[in-house]
Amino acid sequence: MPRLNEQIEIVGRGSEAIAVCRCGYEIGPAAENYKVHLLMREGPVQNAGPWVDPNGIGGDRFVCREFFCPGCVTLLDVEIAQRHEPILWDVRLDVPE
């Protein structure tokens, strides 16, 4: 079974394939960015940790996006991006036909 990582598997074939969380929650079609189907919390880059730009020298240019499974609220990805940038599609597996 192809998998994005230990947390997310691809189930099914071709256009029927879907991304599934380890809890069984069906995230969405494998042909789409799994992250747009997750719960997302977007906040200041400082949300990523106590030593992330603690003096705020970068202003509010960068954001921390945390993506959670809507089923089990496991954290499935943390993305650092400029505020204006779209959600990155970081993993696109070739799905078996």
Partner: protein
């Protein structure tokens, strides 16, 4: 490095001219020659950059300039040496390249990673037959230009950076050319140090030439040439087999360079069967100067990422790998500079982020593989801080230095264990940092502290390695007149986490001015916390700063840790406690990031409170996050 070859590799390498056993002997010997050349260079060089921090490398190229064996130091130099040799092959008449010749170049548009990484290369002849090349490089502390050191702050093009020299012959048939040497040294503020490094690089080449000639004499030229081609063939075969074991797909990453604005380094990595493509064409347009790298440096940067992630058990032949890797770039970008864009800081900006961005994709490729998950590593230190320092030292001599302590970044979390605290950085399998005593002996500084900084590694079920924080003051001099502090990863953490791991900290540098540190020292205290000192804190917002340090100023910086792996709420509470006990994690971070409540009196995990805290964090997640649906769809997704 482990070099184990399967029988089919040996057959593939044999190509008829030599038997597998001889092939293996020669392959090992050529690798050992690189080691000896590197050690020679290190011992001849007086530069702490080479001697204490190993910011250098050596390589062996075939007659055409393809690098079949790279030394175990800064791996990006493989392509620099290779491109420099190819340029010489193209530009010099065949009878202008002879036994005993040595060439040098610092031209990034030819191949040098940036102007400071001078490439010195020498042809290896067996009789009158050109059989191979050897090369060496050491990062130089000053090669002229308006600003001391590497970073040409204020430069708008390569014309306001260090002068370039395309390949020139520095040694002609065994004789050093004094006019060329003099011309080279004329441009630096540190002629003695730069001259010693030049001799060190030539010495490294001399070792490579002599030892390979010994081999051709003993085994015959055809046998050695067959072994060289065999190394490339075997590595390419082994690498393609490794790729075939991994899942197919496309991985993307956006890394960032902070400069006058933010420059994304965007890569899309496609793994298809037994080939690998890295596409950087969506990266930011180039800056006028300073942060760009040229295409050879970008290709070298990819090789530097592929070697540790995928080639941990095969011979490190960049030429072999290149047979299965394609690197796409767009001229005029920050990773493929168009003339005359400047490149003076390339190895800690353009090419550095090219390596990190490729590394993130490779780490996620391994994360997608059940069979190779144990080789997974989350992101290593994703932004390097360096201080270039110039002034008059405690002996009254003019000096220049590059302080490279921040190379002790955190390594990325693994799939079964944490990253290493102060584990180094991805670009060098042999990264070390100087002992404090060596730095204090060489330069007029006194360290108040250098230690692992808790909570700097990215949180995760397995956390990223923590990095170092340091404080120091001047020593035995009135002041340090010139300090150039420079880093990327100051606004954002370059070491991102994978599959729910958090990123590391960011690079930070501050100076507390006009403190009472001398009084405290006189009273017997060693104040290593800025909060305990009087004075005014100067926080630098720019990623490149030129400043000075007076006798009562305390300089502090925090380097960058490694990225985490998986949701930190899945971390075993006992591991969090163990981190607390050794000072790797604070009580506050244990609760905030891991949901683990530590009873500091009993030195144990409060299990009931931990259950409650973790439930609370999960509730917060559910209530503070939104189903992206329409909103994010509108913003699109790339």
């Amino acid at each position: 490095m482990t070099d184990t070859f399967a029988p089919e590799d040996l057959t593939a390498g044999g190509n008829g001219a030599l038997d597998p056993v001889t092939f293996e002997i020669l392959r090992s010997r050529l690798s050992a020659i690189n080691d000896e050349a590197a050690m020679t260079m290190r011992l001849v060089s007086g530069s702490p950059v080479a001697n204490e921090a190993y910011d250098m490398n050596v390589g062996l190229m075939d007659a055409d300039g393809d690098c079949f064996a790279i030394g175990m130091y800064i791996t990006i130099h493989a392509l620099a040496l290779s491109s420099t040799v190819k340029d010489i092959r193209q530009r010099f008449a065949a009878d202008d390249v002879g036994p005993g010749d040595v060439f040098m170049s610092n031209d990034p548009y030819v191949g040098a990673c940036h102007q400071m990484d001078v490439a010195v290369v020498a042809p290896i002849f067996a009789g009158d037959r050109l059989v191979a090349w050897t090369g060496s490089t050491v990062h130089q502390i000053d090669l002229g230009g308006p600003v001391e050191g590497q970073v040409q702050l204020g430069a708008t093009s390569i014309w306001s950076e260090q002068p370039l020299f395309p390949p020139i012959k520095i040694v002609d048939a065994g004789e050093l050319r004094p006019d060329v040497e003099r011309g080279y040294l004329r441009r630096t503020r540190l002629p003695h140090l730069v001259d010693l490094d030049l001799k060190a690089m030539i010495a490294g080449c001399n070792v490579g030439v002599a030892r390979v000639q010994d081999l051709t004499g003993r085994y015959g030229t055809d046998v050695v040439l067959a072994a060289i081609e065999g190394i490339n063939v075997a590595t390419a075969a082994r690498f393609r087999a490794r790729l075939a074991e991994l899942p197919d797909g496309t991985w993307s990453h956006r890394g960032y360079i902070e400069y006058d604005e933010v420059y994304p380094v965007v890569v899309e990595m496609t793994k298809d069967g037994d080939s690998l493509t890295f596409d950087y064409t969506k990266s930011a347009d180039q800056a006028g100067a300073v942060i760009n790298c040229t295409r050879p440096a970008c290709v070298g940067a990819v090789v530097a990422a592929v070697l540790p992630y995928l080639c941990y058990d095969m011979a490190w032949s960049p030429a072999g790998l290149q047979r299965a890797i394609e690197v796409r770039t767009r001229e005029g970008t920050v990773v493929h500079a168009a003339w005359p864009a400047g490149t003076s800081k390339a190895t800690t900006t353009g090419s550095f982020m090219a390596t990190i961005s490729a590394g993130v994709c490779l780490s996620k490729l391994l994360a997608a593989s059940e069979g190779h998950l144990r080789q997974f590593m989350s992101t290593w230190m994703g932004g390097l801080y360096v201080e270039d320092m110039f002034g008059v030292d405690q002996r009254g001599e003019f000096f220049g230095a590059a302080i490279l302590d921040a190379m002790a970044g955190g390594s990325g979390a693994r799939a079964f264990a944490d990253g290493l605290d102060a584990g180094g950085f991805l670009d060098s399998p042999s990264a070390i940092i100087a002992n404090i005593e060596d730095i204090e002996y060489s330069y007029p500084v006194l360290y108040l502290s250098r230690r692992i900084q808790p909570d700097t590694g990215g949180a995760g079920k397995y956390r990223g390695g923590n990095t170092l924080a340091m404080t120091y003051i001047t020593h035995d001099v009135e002041r340090l007149p010139t300090k150039i502090l420079h880093a990327i990863g100051t606004f954002q953490p370059g070491s991102i986490g994978v599959a729910g791991g958090y990123p590391s900290n960011t690079n930070q540098f501050v100076i507390k001015r006009e403190t009472n540190v001398r009084d405290l020292l006189a009273g017997g205290a060693v104040p290593d916390d800025l909060g305990a000192l009087d004075g005014e804190l100067e926080i630098f917002a720019d990623p490149i700063v030129k400043t000075s340090q007076g006798p009562d100023d305390v300089h502090r910086y925090v380097a960058m840790g490694g990225g985490g792996y998986l949701d930190p709420l899945d971390r075993e509470p006992e591991l969090v406690l163990a981190d607390y006990v050794v000072g790797a994690v604070t009580v506050a971070h244990a609760s905030d990031a891991y949901g683990v409540v530590i009873d500091v009196d009993e030195m144990c995990v409060d299990e009931a409170a931990t259950d409650r805290r973790r439930r609370q964090i999960r509730d917060e997640r559910r209530h503070s996050a939104t189903v992206p649906g329409a909103a994010t769809r509108q913003r699109g997704s790339t």
